[in-house]
Structures are given as structure tokens and as C-alpha cells.
């Protein structure tokens, strides 16, 4: 248990009147990439929204570093060290790239640490450094996704949760984003990744869960799931 960053236990939640989560249990070990894949409406996003406190669970528990955070409010959950890169990027379009990044560390007060992390983030995303004074909305789709990830990293989270980072990106950019996710993970950040692009996600994930209509249908190591017949048939579109 001491090596788990996040533990979700028998989580049930309703979203928009629908019983979206029917008992989800999952574990995210420290330093790993864990992927949550599944079709539209399987409940992936609701799982993430429940962990980050935006949706109240009906029953079940969420533990972060062994602490029960089930009933915490969204902003306290961010303060505890869980950052979220929301679906569809959701950067702040009329604020500059720099303002976007500074908002990422809204809950932090250590100026020196922030300065260091800013440099770290610019090293990861050199393209953002050239555009610090540009408005977020004027960036290209790929750059906006990079900004969203960078903004998430600015809180120096213990756990970074990403909701569909490949959404609406060209295949080349998808590969670039996933390379960066791997790089971030290699440098020590634990990642919980939600993806519809099952192949890309399973290739980099150490461990993965497959969701179907509010339940975990399958689980296993990323590479192993790639070989799984059922996964291949349903999510990878291979015969």
C-alpha cells in the first residue's frame, strides 16, 4: 500500500442522472503510467472528475497517499498534489501563455520552486518558451495541448491526470505528445491517463484498465493488453 499514490475502492457515481460508475476499483503505483481506456460513455471521464472532486461519489472511497480524499473539494485536492489536464485542453484563450502557466501553480507559494519548474517546463516544451507573450487562444491545437500539459505540471503534482490528451490532434502530434508524457514520467511524475486512442495509450502504459459501461472489464499490463484478443477486437479494430 505504501507505494500506491492513488487507490480507488468500489466507487459509484451518478453523472447527469445516469449511473455512470458502478463500482470502480483501481490502483496507481508511484512512478508509473496507468491508463484507463474504453469507448465513449464508458465512464472514463466521470472517473477522473470524481477523483478530482468535481463529481460527488455516491459510495466508495478514494485514497491519495493513504489519505481519504473522497469528500474533499476540488481546490483542496489540487493543493494535496493531484493535477488535472482537462479534456479538450481548456486553456485560458485570452490570457498569455505565461499567465496560463502561472495559473497552473495557483496553489503554490514557493517563488523559487516556481521559477525552477518554469524552466523545467520550458525545457520539456521549448516551443512554449518562444511564445510566452502570445495569447493562449492563438496557439495551434498541438501547442495548446502542450500548454495544457505544461500548466498541469506547474503545480508539481504527485499525480498528473490527463483526460484524452490526443483528442483532435494529428497523428504526428499524438506521437509527440505521448513521447512527452513518457519523458515526464521518466523524470518522476506518476500519471493516470485516459484515452480513446487505446493503442497509443497501451504502448506507453505500465498498467491499464479497460472500462465498459461503468465497470472495469479487464485489467493488466499495457503490453499484455495490447496482445489480448478481446482488446484487439473491440478497441484496436483488428480482426
Amino acid at each position: 500500500m505504501d507505494n500506491l499514490v492513488l487507490k480507488v475502492d468500489a466507487l459509484q457515481a451518478y453523472y447527469g442522472g445516469i449511473h455512470a460508475l458502478k463500482g470502480i476499483s483501481l490502483e496507481v503505483p508511484r512512478g508509473k503510467i496507468v491508463a484507463l481506456i474504453g469507448a465513449n460513455g464508458a465512464g472514463k471521464s466521470t472517473t477522473l472528475r470524481t477523483i478530482s472532486g468535481l463529481v460527488k461519489p455516491r459510495s466508495g472511497k478514494i485514497y491519495f497517499l493513504e489519505e481519504d480524499i473522497t469528500t474533499c473539494l476540488p481546490h483542496t485536492i489540487v493543493e494535496k498534489g493531484i493535477a488535472m489536464v482537462p479534456e479538450g485542453r481548456r486553456i485560458f484563450p485570452n490570457l498569455t501563455v505565461m499567465e496560463n502557466l502561472i495559473l497552473g501553480c495557483y496553489t503554490r507559494k514557493d517563488r523559487d520552486g516556481i521559477k525552477q519548474d518554469l524552466e523545467w517546463v520550458f525545457k520539456l516544451f521549448p516551443r512554449l518558451k518562444e511564445r510566452t507573450w502570445q495569447k493562449g487562444g492563438t496557439l495551434s491545437g498541438g501547442e495548446q495541448q502542450m500548454l495544457a500539459v505544461a500548466r498541469g505540471l506547474m503545480s508539481r503534482p504527485q499525480l498528473l491526470m490527463m483526460d484524452e490528451p490526443s483528442l483532435g490532434l494529428a497523428p504526428l502530434l499524438v506521437r509527440e505528445i505521448f513521447q512527452i508524457i513518457e519523458e515526464i514520467n521518466r523524470q518522476g511524475t506518476t500519471i493516470l491517463l485516459i484515452e480513446q486512442n487505446a493503442k497509443a495509450a497501451l504502448e506507453i502504459a505500465h498498467f491499464a484498465y479497460v472500462m465498459e459501461t461503468g465497470r472495469i472489464a479487464l485489467q493488466g499490463e499495457g503490453r499484455a493488453l495490447l496482445q489480448n484478443e478481446k482488446v484487439q477486437k473491440v478497441y484496436l479494430g483488428e480482426d
Partner: protein, 353 residues
């Protein structure tokens, strides 16, 4: 970086001194009509800049500044009205106890304004608490209702407000020193707030609530803070207003007041303090200039009767034209800063050389 902050502070102080010098000259040389318009302009600046904080910068659509102005206005009127005048004004029903027994001396006018702001801010807290938890247009509806409720109270709480007759003979403490000074202070404080991490959070809420929440911003607390500050500004503005014109009655703070303020902040650019400040002044002057269109005219043997309310038609037409050609207002959400002024001056110098 630090040098720039110091430089900006020095320049701001210089601007303040310049403004005060201007005020002194205006008091000496301008006629009372112009002084009156300037006073009104500065009061509009105080209220509009505060109003822009909640509507333009935080992006929460409130329609209540007339209610908050009324609360501030009545508070200041009741506190500052001389005792003899109190007995004369409240002839239907006497003023209720604590207020009937005392009155603020003139040197406590500043305190009365502050208290007017506090009363309005408390009202904002009370109304914001249930409504700011909801998303969307609920705030607009609730604040609109609040403004109307305040007017109903003002009409019927006769022992406190003297009902529809209003309160007359409020000493005219408001002068250019107060209005210019407070307008300057409001712009300075709100601008500092907007440039702080609070301001960034306000703007983040406007841009995208979900993302702002994901960044760890407490949406409710920030919206409430912006709303309360905005209420405070409106309260102070209301207090200045009633001590400028010397009377207060419910008809002074009808929804038209909110509509005027809305025109100011939309014309200036939602989210731009510079825009609100400049259009507030323009609006105060236009309101006077456009009296011409309401006055009766004789052209040769033709005589046109005056059309009251024509000014609002002109303003509405102006708003429509502006929304077509400058959808984001005169300034969008841009701000004038010392850096921009310096860049501009040095550029025009280089152009000459």
C-alpha cells in the same frame, strides 16, 4: 523587474499630483455646471470600474448595481442628514430610533461613505452567497430581482427611507476633491487587484470555469470576493451621488442606473478598466450634450416639441452601432499601462529623429 515596479509607482504618484492640481484649477476656474458634470463623471468611474470587476473581469453577469448604489446612498443620507432636517423630512412617520438621535459631523463624511460601502458590500455578501454557487444566468436574474426589492423597500420602509417622498436637504459634501480622489483610488486599487494573483484567478474563472477549478481555484470564494468588492464600490458611488445632488428617493436608483452602467462597461470593453474609466467620463458628458435632442426646437416656422427620453434612444442606437463595428468595445480587454505609454512616447520620438 523591481525597477519597473518602482518606476510605475513614481509615475502613478506623479499622475495623482497632476490630477489634484487639475482639480484645484477646476475648482477655481470652471463654472458650477462643468464641475457638476465632472463630479458625475468621477462617480460613474467609481461605480463602473467596480461593476466591471464582476461583469467584465470575473465574467459573472450581475444586474444589481442600482440596488447597491441605493443602499449606499440611503446609508450616507441617513447618517449625514442634520438633526433639524431629519425632523422636517420625516413628517409622515418619524425616523426610527438610533438614527433619529445622532448625525455625523461634516468631518466624518469619509466614514459615512465607507459605511455606505460596507452596507452595500454586506448586501452583496448576502445575495451572492446563495446565487454565486450556481452557474449561468441565475446571478443576473437574482441581482435584477434584488435591485427591484431594494426599491420596494425604499418605497415602503417609511420610518427609515421616508418612502417615495425621499430625503431632501442632504448637505452637499461631495466635491471634486472627493470624487476625483475616490475615482483615482478605485482605479488604482482595482487595477492592482486585477494584476495580482487574485486578478489572474478572476480572469481564469471568466475564461473557463472548469479549467479554473482544475487549477485549484476556489470558484465560489473568488466570485464572492469580486461581487462584494463590486458592491462596495457601488455603495460608495451611491453615497457620493446623493451628497452631490442633495436628495435621495427610490426613483434615483431605478434599473435605468444599471442600464447606464452597463452601457459604460460594454462600450469601454468588458474586462478593461481603462475602457470603463474613459467611457464613464465620455458618458457623463454625452448625457449632458444629448440634452439637446430632448429639448424643443424651432426651425423657421416649424416647432418641434421636446421628446423626453430621446437620449436613451441615441445611446441604444450607439450601442447597436458599436456592437456591429467594435464588438469587444473600445478597448476590448486591453489595458493602458505605463509601459505602453513609455513605448509609445519613445517610438514617436524616434519617428521624429
Amino acid at each position: 523587474m523591481d525597477n519597473k515596479i518602482k518606476r510605475d509607482l513614481v509615475l502613478t504618484c506623479l499622475l495623482f499630483i497632476l490630477l489634484m492640481l487639475g482639480t484645484w484649477l477646476a475648482q477655481l476656474y470652471l463654472n458650477s455646471y462643468l464641475v457638476r458634470i465632472l463630479n458625475t463623471a468621477c462617480i460613474y468611474v467609481v461605480v463602473a470600474v467596480g461593476y466591471n470587476l464582476i461583469n467584465g473581469i470575473t465574467g459573472q453577469f450581475s444586474l444589481g448595481p442600482n440596488g447597491f448604489m441605493a443602499m449606499g446612498g440611503y446609508t450616507v443620507a441617513i447618517l449625514m442628514l442634520p438633526l433639524a432636517q431629519k425632523e422636517q423630512v420625516y413628517f409622515i412617520e418619524p425616523l426610527i430610533y438610533p438614527f433619529s438621535a445622532f448625525t455625523f459631523p461634516s468631518y466624518l463624511f469619509g466614514l459615512a461613505l465607507f459605511l455606505g460601502g460596507v452596507v452595500a458590500a454586506l448586501a452583496a455578501l448576502l445575495i451572492g452567497f446563495p446565487t454565486l454557487r450556481l452557474r449561468g444566468d441565475y446571478l443576473a436574474i437574482a441581482t435584477f430581482g434584488f435591485g427591484e426589492i431594494i426599491l420596494v423597500f425604499a418605497n415602503n420602509l417609511i420610518p427609515l427611507t421616508n418612502g417615495a417622498l425621499g430625503i431632501k436637504g442632504i448637505p452637499g459634501y461631495t466635491n471634486l476633491w472627493w470624487t476625483v480622489g475616490l475615482a483615482f483610488l478605485t482605479v488604482f486599487l482595482v487595477k492592482s487587484l486585477v494584476n495580482s494573483s487574485f486578478g489572474r484567478a478572476f480572469k481564469a474563472i471568466r475564461e473557463n470555469e472548469v479549467a479554473a477549478e482544475a487549477m485549484g481555484i476556489n470558484l465560489f470564494r473568488h466570485k464572492l470576493l469580486a461581487f462584494v468588492i463590486s458592491g462596495f464600490c457601488a455603495g460608495v458611488g451611491g453615497g457620493l451621488f446623493v451628497t452631490l445632488i442633495g436628495t435621495v428617493s427610490p426613483s434615483l436608483f431605478t434599473f435605468t442606473m444599471t442600464f447606464n452602467l452597463l452601457i459604460i462597461i460594454v462600450l469601454g470593453g468588458l474586462g478593461s478598466i481603462t475602457g470603463s474609466t474613459i467611457t464613464a467620463v465620455i458618458f457623463a458628458f454625452l448625457q449632458e450634450i444629448l440634452r439637446e435632442v430632448e429639448a424643443p426646437h424651432t426651425i423657421g416656422s416649424w416647432s418641434l416639441p421636446g421628446i423626453p427620453g430621446m437620449r436613451m434612444v441615441v445611446f441604444s442606437a450607439l450601442l447597436v452601432v458599436l456592437m456591429i463595428f467594435y464588438r469587444r468595445g473600445l478597448f476590448g480587454n486591453k489595458e493602458l499601462s505605463w509601459q505602453l505609454v513609455i513605448d509609445w512616447v519613445s517610438r514617436s520620438k524616434n519617428g521624429k529623429a
